[in-house]
């Protein structure tokens, strides 16, 4: 018991150990709810709710009516859980703290200005979510959840994601790559 608690308190686990936990979680999702873990879809459900709530005409399309219907779906509740799960993990390792930008590596590359981080995070997240919308999922919903069912889409997505991710990192980091 003491050993287990010491492991839980550790700030950073081996990625293999954390991966096993996620793998088991993915199996349980299918076993208990017959659902796949995912994150990006929940944002679309919520965005659809806001758009439809405000009666914006652009939201009255096939995508928001049938492909990603708005509402508090299973995925939205999952996402709320992810938020608290991350928080609990940070509490157990005593690293929980409100930060505006604390990443040293970011500061070395983009400078110390906090607003640059926030603006790039906002714009980058739009790009990211848009890509996920086209591909049919994100790292969790398509790459991991699709991959564990051996969906070809997942492996195409992983390959494409790494290709453009590496290219982007090369441009951002240039000589420091």
């Amino acid at each position: 018991m003491k050993w287990l608690w010491n492991q839980i308190k550790k700030e950073e686990w081996s990625p293999y150990a954390a991966g096993i936990l996620l793998g088991v979680t993915g199996v349980l999702a299918v076993f208990l709810s017959n659902k796949l873990l995912g994150a990006s879809g929940a944002f679309e459900n919520l965005a659809g709710m806001i758009g439809k709530g405000l009666h914006i005409a652009a939201f009255d399309n096939t995508y928001f009516n049938y492909v990603m219907p708005p509402g508090i779906t299973w995925g939205v509740v999952l996402l709320v859980g992810v938020f608290f799960g991350g928080m609990i993990a940070a509490f157990t390792s005593r690293t929980w703290k409100l930060r505006l930008n604390s990443d040293e590596q970011w500061k070395r590359v983009f400078g110390k200005k906090i607003w640059v981080r926030w603006v790039l995070a906002f714009l980058g997240a739009i790009v990211l979510e848009y890509g996920a919308g086209i591909a049919g999922g994100c790292t969790s919903g398509l790459a991991i959840s699709g991959g564990m069912l051996l969906a070809p889409a997942a492996f195409l997505f992983i390959a494409a994601m790494f290709a453009s991710g590496i290219a982007t990192a090369l441009i951002v980091y240039r000589r420091r790559y």
């Binding site: 550790k10 950073e12 686990w13 990625p15 293999y16 954390a18 991966g19 096993i20 936990l21 996620l22 793998g23 979680t25 993915g26 199996v27 349980l28 299918v30 208990l32 709810s33 017959n34 659902k35 873990l37 299973w74 995925g75 509740v77 999952l78 709320v80 859980g81 608290f84 799960g85 991350g86 609990i88 590596q105 970011w106 790039l120 980058g124 790009v127 990211l128 848009y130 890509g131 086209i134 591909a135 999922g137 994100c138 919903g141 398509l142 699709g146 991959g147 564990m148 069912l149 969906a151 195409l156 997505f157 494409a160 790494f162 453009s164 991710g165 590496i166 982007t168 990192a169 951002v172």
Partner: protein, 93 residues
């Protein structure tokens, strides 16, 4: 309702594993694209292998049926993935 409680608990477990693997940090995500820290890949692939064994094993025993498998439409998956990678490398999410 019970389904939502399950979703909440699974979400907590999901978020917990992400945080403990360090994937909530900018440098972890971006360094996998610089090939200097492969934690993201190790984490993803371990999860994949564990879940594959679990899911196919349970299906073989007749205990579960698979939910709808994510659709494969080659051009969309690849273009979406290319756009996604740009966002991921810029933000570190």
């Amino acid at each position: 309702m019970a389904n939502y409680v399950v979703a909440l608990f699974l979400g907590v477990s999901f978020g917990f594993s992400l945080n403990k693997a360090g994937l909530t940090k900018y440098n972890k995500i971006v360094n996998v694209f610089r090939l200097s820290d492969l934690a993201v890949l190790k984490f993803m692939m371990t999860a994949l292998v564990v879940a594959m064994i679990g899911l196919y094993g349970l299906r073989g025993l007749g205990l579960i049926t698979f939910p709808a498998v994510p659709a494969t439409y080659i051009v969309g998956n690849v273009i979406g993935g290319l756009i996604f990678g740009i966002g991921m490398a810029l933000t570190g999410y």
